[in-house]
Amino acid sequence: MKKEMFEPFNSSDNNFEQCVKCTICTVYCPVLEVNPDYPGPKQSGPDGERLRLKDQNFYDESLKLCLNCKRCEVACPHGVKIGDIIQLARIKYSKKKPKVRDMILANTDIVGTMASTFAPIVNPIVALKPVRLMMDGVLKIDHHRIFPEYAGMRFETWYRRYAASKQTDFKKHVSYFHGCYVNYNFPKQGKDLIKIMNAAGYGVHLLEKEKCCGVALISNGLIKQATKQARHNVEAFKKSIVDKNMPVISTSSTCIFTIRDEYPHLLGVKNDEIRNESELATRFLFRLIDSGKLKLVFKKDYRKRIAYHTPCHMEKLGWSVYSTALLKMIPGIDFVSLESRCCGIAGTYGFKKENYKTSQGVGKPLFDQIESSDIDFVATDCETCKWQIEMSTTKKVEHPISILAEALDVEATVKLWQK
């Protein structure tokens, strides 16, 4: 289908004029449902954009209440990029300077580097109640929040020490964009990925130097820095994809969504050369299996009842089908699907004191669903959803890749392609 483009004002296909005012988006905005001070997707997006083009004084700081979950875009029958319009308006018109707190939350990699270096010290400190109250009072980071723990050894360090050398043994290769969370907080997820990919016959390599994808910088208004990092990452991806013919996979739905869609739409960083070959690990695996190029063998004794939660960015990407299809391939899994709803965290949004109530209100229907379904744990592709669900329910959350790694019969799988 020929794409109609309306981009005289910015670099995204910012197409507010395709809106026919059908009001459908207003039904699905999770914020509007709990916080009436938010004008809603229709007013903030297409309607507001028209007024802002008349006079930028129509910009309203309440637009920062938008979670950028893009659920409105998924619902819109006319392909209006409502979320993009709102984010672009914030970038273009917001006069509010990011606070120190926002800088801290946004700079996941710098803070991560510092914190993981001192993980044994930082973790207990951040967990201490007085410290949390201090963060609440001074930094306006809500004291209910439990900070994700920082790992003692960064994933990158582990990889160089223990995994790198073995990767050249394989005939086929991919690069892995691990993201900040895997690096600083949860290296296990990266290790699980390597386990699966190696079992599938792929060597896994790190990019020359990856930088944080910048999603938190964007949502906190640190656009210059985000753009710089985006340019850097696109170059790093090119070295892998274009120069070495190695696709890039990731385990973070948010990172990959940001790199594929937000870079060009919000930051104006072109990524045409790398977009198609940057994807989620589950999609990469699904494609191999679907086209008959790979078969995974699972352990006979793995038995679990799990529910899959569709993170907002997965809903927008439309890719949860890959993760769930893989999970459903595990014979011992009793699969429960949850109604697709926002968990409310939206990256750093839910960490802010002023958003805590909205954030938990948005997530409540999801938490209720999780609690009432008798499951062992929740599976999801997004790390911030994981924090939110683990904090707000009694259930643990696992990444599909970790579940696959756990259930995989590595030897049997390897045998299939080695002979």
């Binding site: 026919v20 009001t23 459908i24 009436p36 229709k42 029958p77 392909g79 439309g318």
Partner: protein, 413 residues
């Protein structure tokens, strides 16, 4: 990704077609670029309401004299007689209770206070036997303060014709204070969300009882039961006199509930529903469509044995008009419509607009035509079909339901 059947468009026709196929054990996928026209639905499915401007009494009879090019004629009167029985049953299995007869239209009250003939009406709403009488003499019309999408004075004016003595009352409830702070979002769906959860309904019912004292019937906007079923029925049980609900300006609460339940039914039957994804093009081989490519899945093409195009009319972008030409944007199918753009529109807004008749061309078995040749495994259903002005004749949902079930039968054959 391989399926037995893939349906493009997840509106009324796409979903009912998918449900029927999935009920017969087919592995189906529906791809829908966005939410559908059911979100605006009045509460009634029309079969045939008007002919030459006159109300139709017996749609099944009247269908017989429609022109040959009409989609109903192509389904065939015998098939129709069967499918009109099947359709409400299929909806019923999805948890949607519709009532009405195909050989005798009933009437529903529009928000303009007009009696409109229709076929099936969802249980939220009241069905009337006659178009020239209202069964009650004293009615109270209630509205939520600040709800602008329900026009009580129009209802009142309409009811005057039937000699009904009416009074209008607005009332406020503390549950709505929050949403009323927002100047644009006191919408039907946001009111419904309040009643979906929590116990506002009890308090509300009490209020209705108080306000309706001395009246025989209560009229209210249809804002009950968005994500939760049976809210409207619960309300009716709690109010001590008949409650007549009237549709409001979109979004439509019963419509969205219908969409959700249909999708749920489809997914429970094992169907896969891709929302927010756009089918962009197809791969044809030997007059067959072998795969389609979507925006989200890119190089992972969706393959199937049969495909159904149910992408809706202009409104849903199933058909696109540019300055000079009409086209079907996904697969480039042949269009049944005027090539001369000067002829698309009538200068009177309320006249029979030519563009309303336009759609995709098919053969007699609803197979899509491309460059004049039928595509063997590509069927077309719903409002993307040409050959009728569904608005003027009151046949919107009828065409969607019956052509989609008919097409499903063709596939199952």
């Amino acid at each position: 990704m391989k399926f037995d059947n893939i349906i493009i468009g997840g509106g009324l026709s796409g979903l009912t077609c998918g449900i029927k196929l999935a009920e017969q054990g087919k592995k189906c996928a529906i791809v829908s670029s966005g939410q559908s026209a059911i979100h605006f639905f009045s509460g009634s499915f029309d079969l045939l309401g008007k002919m030459d401007g006159q109300d139709v009494k017996n749609p099944l009879e009247a269908i017989k004299i429609l022109p040959d090019t009409h989609p109903y004629q192509r389904v065939g009167i015998e098939n129709i007689s069967r499918l009109v029985v099947e359709a409400p049953r299929l909806l019923d299995r999805a948890g949607l209770n519709f009532f009405g007869k195909a050989d005798e239209n009933h009437f529903v009250l529009t928000p303009m206070g007009i009696m409109k003939p229709t076929w099936l009406t969802i249980d939220d709403f009241t069905r009337f036997e006659q178009n020239d009488a209202f069964p009650w003499k004293k009615a109270v019309i209630l509205n939520f303060s600040g709800f602008l999408d329900f026009h009580t004075l129009f209802v009142q004016d309409g009811l005057k014709k039937y000699g009904v003595d009416t009074q209008i009352k607005n009332f406020a409830m503390k549950e709505f204070e929050a949403i009323r702070r927002n100047p644009s979002e006191m919408r039907s769906t946001n009111i419904a969300k309040v009643f979906d959860s929590g116990d506002a309904l009890d308090e509300f019912a009490q209020k209705v009882n108080q306000l309706s004292e001395g009246f025989e019937v209560v009229l209210l906007p249809a804002v009950f039961g968005l994500f939760t079923k049976n809210v409207a029925l619960n309300l009716k049980a709690k109010v001590n006199k008949p409650v007549v609900l009237l549709p409001a300006i979109p979004p439509s609460v019963p419509g969205i509930r219908s969409q959700i339940l249909l999708r749920k039914r489809f997914e429970e039957l094992g169907g896969t529903y891709f929302l927010g994804d756009n089918v962009e093009e197809g791969t044809f081989k030997n007059n067959r469509l072998v795969a389609v490519q979507t925006n989200n899945h890119g190089d992972i093409k969706l393959e199937a044995d049969q495909f159904v195009l149910a992408s809706g009319s202009f409104y849903s972008k199933g058909i696109v008009a540019t300055r000079e030409k009409l086209y079907e944007p996904i697969l480039g199918l042949d269009i049944d419509g005027d090539t001369d753009s000067e002829k698309w529109l009538d200068e009177k807004f309320f006249n029979d607009q030519p563009y309303m008749h336009y759609g995709v061309k098919t053969d007699s078995g609803f197979r899509a035509l491309k460059n004049g040749k039928p595509i063997e495994n590509l069927f077309v259903a719903g409002s993307v079909l040409g050959g009728a002005n569904a608005l003027k004749e009151g046949s919107g949902a009828g065409i969607s339901l019956l052509t989609s079930l008919h097409v499903a039968e063709q596939i199952l054959k």
